[in-house]
């Protein structure tokens, strides 16, 4: 075993949080500096892993294996491949930006940053774990900091922050209860007593009967689907984002809900292909509901965070339809779109957070002409908005295009409806941007400063990824493809040729 790069990246925020415990609570600047420093370490190591990934070799790299609980078959197994690396990078990009987006937190900053770092570490752990047990452990670690952060630093607008926090938590947990039953069922069914293991690759290699696959995949789809805000389990998402503080909205919309899509691919599709095939048409249908229904509701929203909240539900529909296509192109698109949407929504939420922090309102009719006073923030808004509606040249165009190519072959009707959803997306995004940023100069906003110093970091980091990902899409797509192709081809081989034409209406 070589240099434990992933473990260090994972432990950096945890150790940072431990250090923060011992910092006096009045020393705000030091607390923030330490948080930024540890996140910079994680981000740096992630970049090393991302650009050091050996395409020729493929598969899991930077692996670490330590036997953890022998009798259960749990291994502390870390490793990244082409599917997890983009997600890991996304986590750290957003985590790093989230620290800076919270630079102006003055209320109990010590507790805030301890919880934020734990939250980021939890999300990071899920993407690098190769063991289902460890995966689940990290997946639920996030619940505790999430809830506490929403109730302390959240904002009560249409719903109270207590309600939002509890709704977020309960949805996540009830979903995970179903998920857990499904995961344990897979674990128990895969191998007889004595050979049992939680290693994901071994669980994928085991064979399961078709009825079992259908049953277990349904549990997984409910669990991961509710995390991914799949219709009809989506209603936590807009309320939760609206109630949460900026950093939590960024991390939750940006990466946390992507765990749902990631888990569905990693465990659902690869271990239970027959179950996936059975449920794919249903998921595709629900995905179209996501796209169309949530976009319609976003049209009617007056609170900026609700607009983006519903827009994120709508975008997750694209991810789901890409997954449901069950072919390499569709799944490539789904993974890449998770990355693209993560960057975009995190940028959006950080900009909204900035405006809200200064003006104390997110109500669209109360805002207007902000481009006069805050040109930099306006640029961030515009970039995120344009990415949201899939403008070519920004990060989300190619992934969405790929998804449509992949899914059109399988579900032509639904793909057309989903593509049409882009028009509604353009409608609500452009309208919101126009009302907030443009129009006559409003004197009451004159004394609000534009973003500067540390406040610029989220815009710079996420904005440049947005552009770079658009101009050099192969940076992401090649990576994703190198991870998806071998695994999905193996899955297709299991299914036989029939799967590619299955479903479809």
């Amino acid at each position: 075993m070589g240099f434990p790069l992933l473990t260090i990246a994972l432990l950096a925020p945890i150790i940072g949080a431990l250090v923060l415990v011992f910092i006096p609570k009045d020393e705000h600047k030091i607390v923030k500096a330490i948080s930024a420093f540890v996140m910079a370490i994680s981000l740096g190591l992630t970049l090393v892993a991302y650009f050091g990934y050996d395409f020729a070799k493929g598969g899991m790299q930077f692996t670490e294996d330590i036997v953890w609980v022998k009798e259960l078959g749990v291994t502390y197994a870390m490793g990244v491949d082409g599917i997890s690396l983009p997600m890991l990078l996304l986590t750290n990009l957003i985590g790093f930006s989230a620290v800076f987006a919270s630079w102006n937190v003055e209320k109990r900053p010590k507790t805030f940053f301890i919880l934020l770092l734990l939250l980021i570490a939890g999300v990071m752990g899920t993407f690098i774990a190769r063991d289902l047990f460890i995966f689940f452990l990290f997946y639920e670690v996030v619940v505790i900091p999430l809830y506490i952060m929403v109730i302390i630093w959240g904002s009560s607008k249409r719903v109270t922050k207590e309600y939002a926090g509890m709704k977020l938590t309960i949805y996540l947990l009830i979903g995970s209860a179903f998920l857990l039953v499904g995961l344990i069922a897979i674990y128990l069914n895969a191998y007889p007593v004595g050979q049992r293991t939680f290693m994901i690759d071994k669980l994928s290699a085991a064979s399961y009967s078709e009825p079992f696959q259908i049953f277990a995949f349904a549990l997984l789809a409910v669990g991961f689907g509710s995390l991914l805000s799949m219709f009809p389990f989506h209603s936590w998402s807009p309320d939760g984002y609206a109630g949460a503080p900026t950093a939590v909205s960024m991390i939750h919309a940006g990466v946390l809900k992507k765990i749902g899509g990631y888990g569905l691919i990693r465990v659902g599709l690869l271990a239970l292909p027959l179950g996936a095939k059975f449920w794919a048409p249903v998921i595709a249908f629900l995905a179209v509901c996501n796209v169309a229904y949530a976009a319609m509701i976003a049209l009617a929203q007056k609170d900026l965070k609700y607009v983006i909240g519903y827009s994120s539900v709508s975008h997750m529909g694209y991810v789901l339809i890409g997954l449901a296509a069950l072919n390499v192109i569709g799944i490539n698109g789904a993974v890449a779109n998770m990355f693209a949407h993560g960057v975009m929504s995190a940028l959006f939420f950080s900009m909204i957070g900035y405006v809200y922090e200064k003006t104390h309102t997110r109500y669209i009719p109360d805002l207007g002409g902000l481009a006069h006073q805050m040109p930099r923030v306006a640029i961030g808004f515009m970039m995120a908005g344009m990415a949201s509606l899939g403008l070519p040249g920004l990060v989300s165009f190619i992934p969405e295009f790929t998804i449509f190519v992949g899914s059109f072959a399988v579900y032509p009707t639904m793909a057309i409806i989903a593509i049409a959803g882009i028009i509604i997306t353009a409608l609500y995004t452009l309208r919101a941007l126009a009302n907030v940023l443009f129009g006559p100069r409003r004197p009451e906003f004159d004394h609000y400063p534009d973003a500067k110093g540390p406040e610029m970091v989220p815009l710079l980091v996420l904005g440049s990824v947005l552009v770079l990902g658009g101009i050099f899409p192969h940076l992401i797509l090649d990576m994703v493809n190198s991870g998806v192709e071998p695994l999905v081809s193996a899955m297709m081989a299991k299914l036989g040729a029939a799967a590619t034409i299955g479903g479809g209406f």
């Binding site: 507790t111 452990l137 990290f138 505790i144 506490i148 509890m166």
Partner: protein, 472 residues
């Protein structure tokens, strides 16, 4: 007769009597903190000796007494509970008007009763151990002289406890009548289906169900938990319940046949299901921390019963593992409640407001302990539930896992409600809360153990597996 098999009990009895003598020797006006520490180190020493007792599987006194890994594990659990209770009691005992020193001796006697229960291979021995424990608890629950609620709780516990003992004794006498023996493993082959056996099983379940506070025999627990002194509530919640499980598991698995006998598994399943649901649902509206923990402990009994449903080594291992974590997590929560009750004079959950600012350690321990009870990873409760529910799922029965996991997520609601007040609200006054050293140790131990066994459950799980195997 191999007296060495009784060494733990003999040591404990000597310690308890020695403490009584110490009470007589020391003047009544002193605070008797020293006796508290003597108890502590005595119990610690006994705990250390138990580690050398694994691997001995023998019976003595004509099968009346059994010494196996299972009983050793349970004894360690009782000792850990007694140690944590002693630690959290030291400052509480200072506030008692009289009879401070006898308190510790009673705690040790209760532990002795539990140990006898764990090692009993015979119905009469079980009964003797159980009465030793229960009668000691009658005294301890009513220990705060001049406090109406404590006395009321004591009287209630006395009446209900006596009634449940009578019911249990009735069931035991029926078993003796049917088989002509009181030795548990000997009953197995002699029992066949008969109406009398049905009555015996039902009364046994009612009697033990009272001890473990399973629905519908749980009614006593909220009132008595609320009225009893808080350290004793903790003791009652963790150790008394674990002792109930220790005998329940041994009697049902070793003594009552499933084939040709009464299908007690179905009865247990129904009990486990309604206990999980009712315990969790009724806990939601509670505003008193002790009542909330009482209903939560009812729900925990339901989870533990699921382990008995699978009736195999994996399920019993789940029970043992979970019971140990349950002790640690619950004692952490009760220790925080003790400090808050002493410093703020309240047991109402809304009064926990701002605890995270005034004393972050206590707030963190309370949050972690409660979330471990809810079974949120990476805390130990999650691994415990995983063992319990995967054992029954392995038998092809899925519904307990569904009910269990969904209800544990429901339980998050009322556990987080406490966290809500502690973390969100500003405190009424900003005075920092003084945490006595003994309590600080208790809560730190509870927190570290809860997190450690959640992340690295291996060592404890191996011991639990070994202990569970000795039953089969």
């Amino acid at each position: 007769m191999n007296m060495s098999l009784l060494s733990t009990e003999i040591l404990t009895a000597v310690l308890a009597c020695g403490l009584l003598i110490l009470c007589l020797l020391s003047p009544n006006k002193e605070k008797h903190r020293g006796i508290g520490y003597a108890t502590l180190f005595g119990l610690l020493a006994i705990l250390v000796t138990t580690f050398f007792q694994y691997g001995i599987n023998e019976t003595t006194f004509h099968e009346l007494w059994i010494h196996d890994d299972y009983s050793v594990f349970m004894k360690e659990l009782f000792l850990v509970a007694a140690i944590l209770v002693t630690l959290s009691s030291i400052d509480f005992v200072d506030t008692l008007p009289r009879f401070r020193s006898e308190y510790y001796s009673l705690i040790v006697f209760a532990a002795l009763g539990m140990m006898v229960m764990a090692s009993a291979n015979d119905l009469v021995t079980i009964y003797v151990g159980m009465e030793l424990m229960t009668i000691t608890f009658f005294v301890l629950v009513a220990y705060v002289l001049g406090n109406g609620r404590s006395s009321e709780a004591g009287v209630k516990y006395l009446l209900l406890g006596a009634a449940s003992s009578a019911v249990l004794l009735f069931g035991m006498s029926l078993l003796y009548g049917l088989t002509g023996t009181t030795v548990i493993p000997e009953m197995m082959s002699k029992l066949h289906w008969s109406p009398a056996l049905v009555i015996a099983v039902v009364t046994l379940i009612a009697g033990f169900g009272f001890k473990i506070s399973a629905v519908p025999f749980h009614m006593w627990s909220p009132d008595i938990y609320e009225g009893a002194p808080t350290p004793i509530t903790g003791y009652l919640a963790v150790a008394s319940k674990a002792a109930g499980f220790a005998v329940l598991v041994r009697v049902f698995i070793d003594g009552l046949p499933l084939q040709n006998g009464v299908d007690w598994l179905t009865v247990m399943s129904v009990l486990a299901g309604i206990t999980m649901v009712i315990g969790n649902v009724v806990a939601i509206p509670q505003t008193n921390i002790k009542r909330m923990l009482a209903y939560s402990s009812v729900a925990q009994a339901g989870y533990l019963l699921v382990g008995l449903m699978s009736a195999d080594a994996a399920g019993v291992k789940g029970i043992l593992f979970y019971a140990m974590l349950y002790v640690v997590a619950n004692m952490g929560a009760f220790a925080v409640a003790i400090v808050v009750a002493k410093e703020l004079g309240t047991e109402e959950i809304p009064d926990y407001a701002g605890l995270a600012i005034r004393q972050p350690l206590l707030a963190s321990v309370m949050t972690i302990s409660l979330l471990s009870l809810a079974g949120i990873p990476p805390l130990a409760g999650f691994v415990g539930k995983l063992y319990l529910f995967s054992a029954i799922m392995d038998k092809g029965v899925l519904w307990p896992a569904f009910v269990g996991f969904v209800m544990s997520m429901v339980s998050v609601y009322y556990y987080l409600n406490v966290a809500l007040y502690m973390w969100r609200d500003e405190p009424k006054d900003n005075r920092p809360i003084h945490v006595p050293g003994a309590i600080k140790f208790t809560v730190l131990f509870a927190m570290v153990a809860t997190v450690f066994f959640g992340i690295y459950p291996g060592p404890l799980a191996e011991v639990a597996t070994m202990a569970a195997k000795s039953l089969f």
